[in-house]
């Protein structure tokens, strides 16, 4: 059975959570009348999540009942919620109603508690019920059997009332929880350490009646409540090969010539090189060709939009008019502590919104710095690149190599090179007493290319190719020397002598 078949559930209405990203993970939200356990350690975000769902539900004119047991008291909880944008005091008590059931549980046991829940669900016409502090019920139960009976009866009442029920608990036992086998779904919230960082992660461990996005998805608790970032590897599952024969200009005529007419449309190109080698300039030239038919996006981490446009102007690349015409968007993400998955989703969402065809990512290091583990980068980029390809986007992405000059080419081992169709290498080389910039094409998948090394210069008129290395060798090592075989040939010697005479005449005229 595939995901599509599983997701088709005639007769079962979904209740959207309204929590950014969570409905994507749940493929549409919870089911009405179903019972879910939300498990997490103290401080994991269970109570905020549950309140956020209640208020989103209330905004649609529907009602939610929030029942606490041994949990944070209502007054303190509401004081904390006041800081959140989803909180709206006007929706209390008509649409969101808070009660405590602990005393009833203490005085009347599980039966009294069940009667209370049943009555209150009906009295408040609640279509969402939150029970915060399930562990108190578990502790009151005299046996696993009694606890399971309570869950079973609650499921029956919730189904009859069409009330989606979330049971919040921190789970006092290890991995064995008999109630997990009974409920319709299990969601865990965790705060996972990665070195000095911690990352909150949500996982749908069980979800009856539908597929869900598998695995752990990072989430953040912000002033707007929880924001879940579905992992691109689970979200973007399309596997599209390149079948577009069209070429798209790099914005540099000589580079187009080297690639037999430009980059293959929908492909991704990795531009490798050390700092200052011209990677961003290459990308700006690529984006200069943005148009109404081929909207462009600069997704960068290092330069603000104003600075980028100004720097482009200094080398004759006009991005300003492209931005003003609406053909180019510059999206700047300063490299603070971010979530890799969030960045990936923001990128894809912006591409979709703008119908982007030319994408320049500057650079890969901005993504890599946010990854919780190095191993994730390869699969992450493969998923994002696949999705971009499916959306018909031609992508250019920079990656900084650590060594400025020298014989070694140190490429960060991310696995990214395996999923990019094209690779362009920019390097420095010392030749005839000058440091020169070099460009070479290392790979063009599905098409021929000119493998020659070219020198290029960046000046007031942009990026210009020059031919300086016809007679040099050892260029890629960073230290070029005159080729002895070429220098020794009589024809070459005569040509060089003639060149010297012409230069002398010119100097004389001047």
């Amino acid at each position: 059975m595939n995901n599509k078949e599983l997701s088709h559930e005639p007769g079962l209405e979904r209740i959207a959570t309204g929590v950014p990203g969570l409905d994507d993970v749940l493929k549409g939200g919870f089911f009405e009348g179903a019972v879910y356990i939300v498990r997490g350690t103290p401080g994991a975000g269970k109570t905020i999540l549950a309140n956020q769902i209640c208020f989103q539900h209330a905004r649609q004119g529907k009602r939610a009942l929030f029942v606490t047991l041994l949990a944070e008291n209502h007054a303190r909880m509401l004081q904390h919620l006041e800081q959140m944008s989803f909180y709206d005091a006007h929706l209390i008590p008509k649409y969101v109603y808070y009660i405590s059931a602990f005393r009833v549980l203490e005085e009347n046991g599980l039966k009294g508690m069940m009667d209370l829940l049943r009555r209150e669900m009906r009295a408040h016409e609640a279509s969402i019920l939150i029970l915060d502090g399930l562990i108190a019920v578990e502790e009151t139960s005299t046996s696993d059997r009694e606890f399971r009976k309570f869950i079973h009866e609650l499921q029956a009442h919730a189904a009859t009332a069409g009330c989606c029920t979330l049971l919040l608990t921190n789970g006092r036992r290890g991995e064995y929880h008999p109630e997990h086998t009974m409920v319709d779904g299990l969601i865990t919230l965790e705060d996972v350490p990665y070195g000095k960082r911690r990352q909150r992660e949500l996982e749908v461990r069980k979800f009856r009646g539908s597929a869900s996005l598998r695995g752990r998805h990072p989430f953040q608790i912000t002033d707007d409540g929880l924001i879940v970032h579905p992992r691109p590897e689970s979200r973007f599952l399309r596997n599209t090969g390149i079948d577009n024969a069209a070429r798209i200009s790099t914005g540099i005529a000589q580079l187009d010539a080297m690639t037999n007419g430009g980059l293959i449309a929908d492909s991704s190109t990795l531009v490798l090189g050390p700092s200052g080698a011209g990677k961003t300039t290459l990308g700006m030239a690529f984006l200069q060709c943005s148009s109404k038919a081929e909207p462009g996006l600069h997704f960068g981490f290092y330069e603000s939009p104003q600075r980028l446009v100004a720097n482009a102007g200094l080398i004759g690349i006009d991005l300003k008019s492209k931005v003003e015409a609406g053909h180019l968007e510059i999206s700047w993400r300063p490299p603070f502590e971010r979530v890799l998955d969030g960045l990936g989703n923001e990128l894809i969402d912006t591409v979709r919104r703008r119908k982007v065809k030319r994408l320049f990512i500057d650079g890969w290091g901005g993504f890599a710095g946010t990854a919780e583990t190095h191993e994730r980068l390869g699969p992450f980029f493969a998923a994002v690149a696949n999705e971009l390809r499916s959306l018909g986007v031609t992508t250019m992405c920079t990656m900084e190599t650590p060594n400025l000059i020298g014989p070694e080419l140190l490429v960060p081992g991310t696995g990214i090179s395996a999923v990019t169709e094209n690779m362009i290498l920019l390097r420095y080389s010392e030749y005839q007493g000058r440091l020169r910039r070099l460009i070479s094409i290392m790979k063009v998948r599905g098409g021929g290319f000119d493998p020659k090394l070219r020198e290029f210069e960046i000046g007031a008129e942009g990026l210009r190719f020059v031919d300086s290395f016809k007679t040099a060798e050892g260029v890629l090592s960073g230290y070029s020397t005159e080729r002895s075989d070429v220098a020794a040939t009589p024809a070459r010697a005569r040509k060089q002598a003639k060149g010297r005479r012409v230069s002398a005449r010119r100097r004389g005229k001047a």
């Binding site: 606490t68 509401l78 005091a89 008590p93 808070y98 005393r103 209370l116």
Partner: protein, 123 residues
């Protein structure tokens, strides 16, 4: 000794109120919802009632109406308590004597209780 009836469903709130009021020399009775509070009224006639706004079974609005409709209890001073702002509470009920926003400070509670009991004694 004056008697205060505290009506609140939330564990901890009634216990705290009971402690600080008893320390001050009041006799305190408690109930966890409006229905239970009405039953307690038949057993004792409190000098003051502290009533929570949101409760299961019978909420503050319903309880207040029931108390005021009974001539025997109609004049008992009532403090309505809520985590919500008073404006929200006044949308469903107004017939209480004073309002106490949660979370509260002990001194504020004692001051308010003493003030209402004094006013009630003068009338």
């Amino acid at each position: 000794m004056q008697t205060v009836l505290v009506v609140d469903d939330e564990f901890g709130v009634a216990e705290v109120l009971q402690s600080i009021l008893e320390d001050e020399g009041y006799r305190v009775a408690t109930a966890i919802n409006g229905k239970q509070a009405l039953a307690r009224l038949n057993e004792l006639t409190p000098d003051l009632i502290m009533l929570d706004y949101m409760m299961p079974i019978m909420d503050g609005t319903q309880t207040l109406a029931a108390i005021r409709s009974n001539p025997a209890f109609a004049t008992i001073p009532i403090i309505m308590m809520s985590s919500l702002e008073e404006a929200a509470v006044r949308e469903t009920c107004t017939d209480y004597n004073s309002f106490l926003r949660k979370p509260f400070r002990a001194m504020a509670v004692l001051k308010l209780v003493a003030q209402l009991l004094e006013q009630s004694a003068r009338q």
